[in-house]
């Protein structure tokens, strides 16, 4: 599903050039659950953003579902992103002015899904993440764990093949964190590919494979017990 060859990313700020990623080559198959770990500033989030088509690499190739996407424009990337990739962030990123229901619905609005179908799919997503009972509430009325469940519902409502999670438990206590991890595992078991950036070895235990980054390089890959791809 994901294949990168010699992916590099560098930032130019004033007079200093910072290299965030350096020749990263990796393959992630369909249905995998992969963790990316490494110290702060090693390029984890940069990699995730490039994989999520939110950012583009400075050099190297990125094939998404067999298509080379490294040279696509912002507009083309947006088109590809819609419906194919779901995001879960550490800070939830729910829109404060929208209710739980409306936040989840937003993902379908940009896809142009008809109203009746939207209602059914949003309902299903909310059931799946067990947050249906709060659908009329606003994000600030929910606990952190509940907010992240809404964010997960938003990420899955469009049935994307890939979910990218950037430290999804980083802002949660261990109980709530565990719930979110279980949710992601369930999603993975039903066929969704998941790539997750995390600091937590405990969270990484949920995945099949862990990629360690250091200074922009892939240093090790470790396979966990679980279904072999």
């Amino acid at each position: 599903m994901i294949e990168t060859v010699n992916l590099s990313k560098s930032y130019q700020t004033d007079e200093v050039e910072t290299t965030a990623l350096n020749d990263v080559s990796l393959k992630i198959g369909s249905g995998e659950f992969v963790s990316i770990m490494g110290p702060s500033g090693c390029g984890k989030s940069t990699l995730l953003n490039i994989l999520g088509l939110l950012d583009s690499p400075t050099s190297g190739t990125y094939r998404f579902d067999g298509t080379d996407v490294s040279g696509l424009s912002e507009r083309q990337r947006a088109q590809l992103r819609k419906g194919n990739i779901g995001f879960v962030f550490q800070s939830f990123n729910l829109i404060d002015e929208l209710t739980v229901y409306e936040n989840v619905e937003l993902a379908l609005l940009y896809l142009g899904v008809a109203a009746a179908e939207r209602e059914a799919r949003v309902g299903a997503a909310l059931e799946r993440t067990q947050i249906m009972h709060r659908k009329g509430h606003f994000p600030q009325q929910l606990s952190g764990g509940q907010q992240q469940r809404v964010a997960v519902a938003r990420a899955v409502v469009a049935n994307p093949g890939l979910i990218l999670a950037d430290e999804p438990t980083g802002n949660l206590d261990s109980t709530n964190g565990e719930e979110v991890m279980k949710l992601l595992t369930e999603l993975n078991e039903s066929g969704t590919t998941i790539v997750m950036v995390t600091h937590s070895p405990a969270d990484a235990e949920y995945s099949h494979r862990t990629i360690h980054l250091f200074d922009g390089h892939v240093v090790t890959e470790k396979f966990m017990a679980g279904p072999v791809v």
């Binding site: 507009r75 947006a78 088109q79 992103r81 990123n93 829109i95 002015e97 993902a107």
Partner: protein, 786 residues
């Protein structure tokens, strides 16, 4: 999707009530100011345009010795009609006033005009009753306006009724017309047939220019031909031995806004003020839009995550631009509605302020609604552009982290916008201060006579004129009155222009002089100081052509080449009058301060008196007026008693300036208000985007005043820059304005210092509220933010 945008917009507004209120109110106030000023401009520009084919109407002016005079002799209208086929109609208009008697009631009325029956061929004034083709044909016929008909008879169908002017003659009412529109420079209450003025109507003469002449051309484009033909015609007249006057044509629609023409019919407007107000309208609108941009950008920090999230969900940039423009449109529409409500509610107030009679109903036409909607669209396009383009351009990765650092360019732009706002405010403050100081200067300045304590009563009845000597004696009996006399034209409105020279010198030495025929006691009654010679004797003989007695002013003496002392006893000629100078008066401003003091000759000639003037003791105004009224009642029973203070007569000359000062002061205040709202937005934006920095500084031990100072410093610098830009502009514009007064205040650093202090105080107070809030935030909170 639209519904979603709308929900977000509505809830955003609801959640950020303060911002929304500032934003909408700021824009609404700005729009309302703009609309008021544009209505004013529109009204000024609309003068006399309601006539059919108004561009083809011209007034004939006299052009003599570098002076333009609006009055012409009787011959002009008939001559031009006869000789020039291009002139399809011409009419003479003579202005007058008088005592109108209806049955037993007597009214003192202004605006009694005479006009040729061709009046309605030139102008478009429909009659409610009567026939335009013959209402003014016969002698002693008159058309009344609706107000007059209702005032005298309580009804409109008054055709055939009669009124009397000054005891005789009796006029038959042959028409009733609607009251004249406020934007007509011709304003009358009565329009009588010119045939009633038998002496003038029956003579075509080049002397005695007492009549306004208006002509209508068949085709406005033939103006140049007509002007050439008039020149040739005048040559022919000259060749035939007559002495014609030089004539020029002035477009009817240009009359209201042109100045410098003597004997103008109405209080003219001024093109400079029209342009100034238009500029002010545009500046205030610009400031309101700038505000919107600044405030919306300030909010954008809070909405960066939303933008990032929408982008990660696949939103296209164009969709986000649409969303933010849509929000701007909603805000603008709300502001337009509020703005229109403000305009409708404030119309009466503005009319009082600007001396206008504008109707709020101008908003109720479909055209106006369209204009308002189009305006809202344009404003939202301008005001919404920066947030829309800026927010939608944020890269999703950075937006999601909530780390929107504005680029150097956009920061510069925001600062530039604040400089523009405060520059305009500084200019308006200085302008308001200077205009108000000049007005005060004109009111407080010594005019060289007792302007504050002289009252004038017109002699508009033959009976009064005959009994004047006895009336004067009776009036002088009151201890409240210092002196009573009479003259031809009162100070403040002195227009009698003659020429004079030393007696015995040739005609070619004659120079222009203002003339004031008067009764003997005039110097005392006006409180004029004599610096040489003496006043007129108590009761001199009636002058014939060679034994006039003159009092001239210093300027006149100087022009004739005499010191004041030398002048006394000399003989001068003010043709056809000749006589002796008995005294020299210290120069005094016998007209408004717009003009320098001209040479003046006062001569004793009681036959020419038209106004009684009385100087009263300070503090005894009421007693003086009561006494004069009782004297009037005794000598002219049934004649209404009307009076004016000379002070007020002068004041009226400053109506334009006073109106301007009021408008500028009010709009300066509103502009500053709008600018402060913008500054408030920028200050909160800065405080928000520097939250972390403030947190770090506090952890490191910075004090609250230190941080407030740090954050406010920037704005103080901006205001200083704005001020530095505004000063030279204000200096130039105001120097030019002041040069329109022969007597004016000097532009000093004082007004600029006051304006700077005011601006700085306001700017500091505004920005420091935001700074204080940021500085008192718990640093733990602000540091946890990331």
């Amino acid at each position: 999707m639209l519904k979603n945008y709308f929900i977000v917009a509505a809830r955003t507004l609801h959640r950020q009530k303060g911002y929304a209120a500032i934003n909408i109110v700021g824009l609404a106030v700005g729009l309302a100011c703009c609309v008021f000023l544009l209505l004013f401009v529109r009204d000024e520009l609309s003068y006399d345009r309601f006539h059919e084919d108004a561009d083809a109407i011209f007034r004939v002016n006299l052009f003599e010795d570098d002076r333009l005079v609006a009055l012409t002799p009787t011959i002009v209208a008939p001559l031009l009609t006869r000789e020039l086929p291009e002139v399809v109609a011409a009419t003479r208009v003579e202005t007058s006033s008088g005592l109108i008697r209806v049955d037993e009631d007597v009214y003192d009325e202004r605006g009694f005009y005479y006009a040729d029956s061709t009046f309605f061929d030139v102008f478009t004034f429909p009659l409610l009753l009567g026939d335009v083709s013959d209402a003014l044909k016969r002698p002693n016929t008159v058309i009344l306006t609706r107000s007059m008909a209702e005032k005298y008879f309580g009804r409109l169908d008054v055709l055939g009724e009669r009124i009397t002017r000054n005891n005789a003659p009796e006029f038959e009412i042959t028409g009733v017309m609607e009251d004249l529109p406020a934007n007509s420079h011709i304003q009358f209450n009565f329009l009588a047939s010119f045939a009633s003025r038998e002496y003038w109507a029956s003579r075509e003469m080049w002397g005695s220019a007492n009549f306004f002449t208006y002509i209508r051309l068949g085709d406005a484009s033939s103006l140049e031909t007509v002007e050439q033909k008039i020149a040739l015609l005048l040559d022919r007249v000259r060749a035939s031995g007559a002495e014609p006057r030089n004539l020029t044509l002035q477009s009817m629609t240009a009359i209201h806004l042109s100045s410098g023409i003597e004997y103008e019919l109405d209080e003219s407007g001024d093109m400079a003020y029209v342009k100034g107000f238009f500029t002010l309208a545009m500046l205030i609108l610009l400031m309101a839009c700038v505000n919107y941009m600044n405030l919306a950008t300030a909010r954008s920090v809070l909405r960066a995550r939303e933008v990032g999230m929408r982008k990660s969900l696949g939103a296209l940039r164009s969709q986000l631009i649409g969303q933010f423009y849509g929000e701007a449109l909603i805000m603008t529409l709300a502001a337009v509605c509020l703005g229109v409500a403000l305009v409708v509610a404030g119309m009466g107030w503005f009319n009082g302020l600007a001396g206008k009679e504008l109707e709020p109903s101008v908003f109720l036409t479909p055209g106006a609604v369209l204009v308002a909607l189009a305006g809202a669209a344009i404003v939202s396009l301008i005001a919404g552009s920066y947030p829309a383009l800026f927010l939608s351009s944020i890269e999703p990765v950075r937006a999601l982290r909530g780390r929107v650092r504005s680029t150097q360019g956009s920061a510069l732009m925001r600062r530039g916008l604040v400089v523009v706002q405060f520059g305009v405010s500084a200019f308006l403050i200085v302008g308001a201060l200077v205009v108000v100081s000049q007005l005060r200067y004109m009111q407080d300045r010594s005019y060289g006579f007792d302007k504050e304590h002289v009252v004038e009563v017109p002699i508009n009845d033959p009976a009064l004129y005959r009994s004047y000597p006895a009336l004067r004696e009776a009036a002088a009996e009151s201890p409240a009155l210092v002196a009573v006399s009479a003259l031809n034209q009162i100070p403040g409105q002195l227009g009698w222009t003659s020429s004079f020279r030393r007696e015995g010198s040739p005609d070619t030495d004659e120079v222009s002089v203002k003339g004031m025929p008067a009764d003997a006691g005039v110097p005392g009654a006006l409180g004029i100081e004599l610096i040489a010679g003496r006043s007129f004797p108590e009761a001199p003989p009636q002058p014939d052509s060679s034994n006039y007695l003159f009092i001239i002013n210093e300027t006149a003496a100087r022009i004739l080449g005499w010191t004041p002392d030398e002048a006394v006893g000399q003989r001068i000629a003010v043709p056809p009058r000749r006589g002796e100078v008995v005294g020299v008066a210290k120069d005094f401003n016998f007209n408004s301060l717009h003009v320098a003091i001209e040479p003046l000759a006062i001569w004793y000639q009681p036959r020419e008196i038209r106004h009684v003037i009385a100087r009263f003791q300070p503090g005894q105004t009421e007693e003086a007026i009561d006494h004069l009224e009782s004297v009037w009642a005794r000598f002219a029973p049934g004649v209404p008693f009307t009076y004016r203070f000379i002070d007020d007569v002068y004041d009226r000359q400053y109506a334009n300036e006073r109106r301007t000062s009021r408008v500028v002061a009010v709009f300066a205040f509103l502009a500053i208000l709008v600018a402060c709202l913008g500054l408030l937005g920028l200050a909160s934006f800065t405080a928000q985007s520097r939250t972390r920095e403030i947190g770090v500084r506090k952890v490191l031990g910075a004090s609250v005043p230190g941080i407030v100072g740090l954050l406010s410093k920037d704005f103080v610098v901006l205001v200083a820059v704005a001020f530095a830009v505004a000063v030279p502009v204000a200096w130039l514009v105001l120097s030019r304005w002041l040069s329109g007064f022969a007597y004016h205040i000097e532009l000093g650093p004082g007004v600029f210092a006051v304006a700077l202090a005011a601006l700085m105080t306001v700017a500091f107070l505004t920005s420091s509220t935001q700074a204080l809030r940021a500085a008192t935030t718990d640093p733990v909170k602000s540091l946890r933010y990331d």
